[in-house]
Amino acid sequence: MSDLGSAPVPPVGADDHARGAGAETLIVYADLGCPHCARDWFELNKSGRRIVFRHFPVRSKHPRAPELHGAAEAAGLQGAFFEFVDSLYADRGHVDDPHLWQRVERFGLDLDRFERDRRSDAIAARVRRDFESGIRAGVTGTPALFDADGARASA
């Protein structure tokens, strides 16, 4: 069982999901079922900063969130993490399994592999790792923003 006591946000690592080449980095703890995250996501990505996405699904607030985070990770294994995240935030009304499969087809991904991966223990652990780091950093809602040094940031 993990220690969930206070700890700084982990530094950005090679296996983080990062996009953009801005000089400044913005670490975003986000829930793929969260309307506030969807509202802010595209603006954050226009800010010129490098965006690092970290998973923070809260099932009781957004029951589909864990499945969506698993799906995004599975798409990421096929090189389409941010395409998947963008598509989920852009169309929040279509997030059931058939809609996920449509995205897989649209992005040219291997559906069998996607289905296998998104429910794997490895992906669940990867998502939980981000979630726990957010808990330890004191995240209480999403989106929660930090700079590369771990200080709270703003949009």
């Binding site: 220690d3 809260v58 009781s60 607030k61 209480t140």
Partner: protein
């Protein structure tokens, strides 16, 4: 707010199913009492949702999680179902806020202040936390810091 080391005042309240629950029922176990303003409010929803996500880790540390607000058991039941959580919610309904007042967790606007009280195995207050305002809640990390 009640002081660390004080004997935690016993109480008997109805839970979300209408069953009576007493603090004494938790004798021999640690219990974290979460006083919160009211069911269905946005901040209370976030708080109980986040704490629900770390319940396995709390259980691992031998801690039972209990929420207390002024709401009626029926409201608690609906709130619990809306969030899909199984945290015990107790109704400090009548006399309104009596338990919150006994713990010094009353906010003078008609509801409990957002406070946490950790009661240890022998019924003594082991740790407390009072939010700066009812609109903010402490992250779960604060609880785990207290548990060590």
């Amino acid at each position: 707010m009640i002081a660390v080391g004080d004997k935690a005042p016993d109480f008997t309240l109805r839970n979300q199913d209408g069953d009576e629950v007493s603090l004494a029922d938790y004798q021999g176990r640690k219990v974290l009492i979460v006083f919160y303003p009211m069911d269905f409010s946005p901040v209370c929803s976030d708080q109980l949702s986040i704490y629900h996500e770390v319940k396995p880790e709390l259980t691992e540390k031998g801690v039972e999680l209990v929420g207390i607000s002024i709401d009626h058991p029926w409201a608690h039941k609906a709130f619990q179902e809306k969030l899909g959580i199984d945290t015990t919610l107790l109704a400090d309904f009548e006399p309104k806020g009596e338990v919150a007042k006994a713990y010094g967790s009353w906010f003078d606007a008609g509801f409990a202040n957002r406070t946490l009280v950790l009661v240890d195995e022998d019924g003594s207050v082991a740790w407390t936390y009072e939010s700066p305002s009812p609109g903010e809640f402490p992250g779960a990390n604060v609880i785990f810091d207290a548990l060590g």
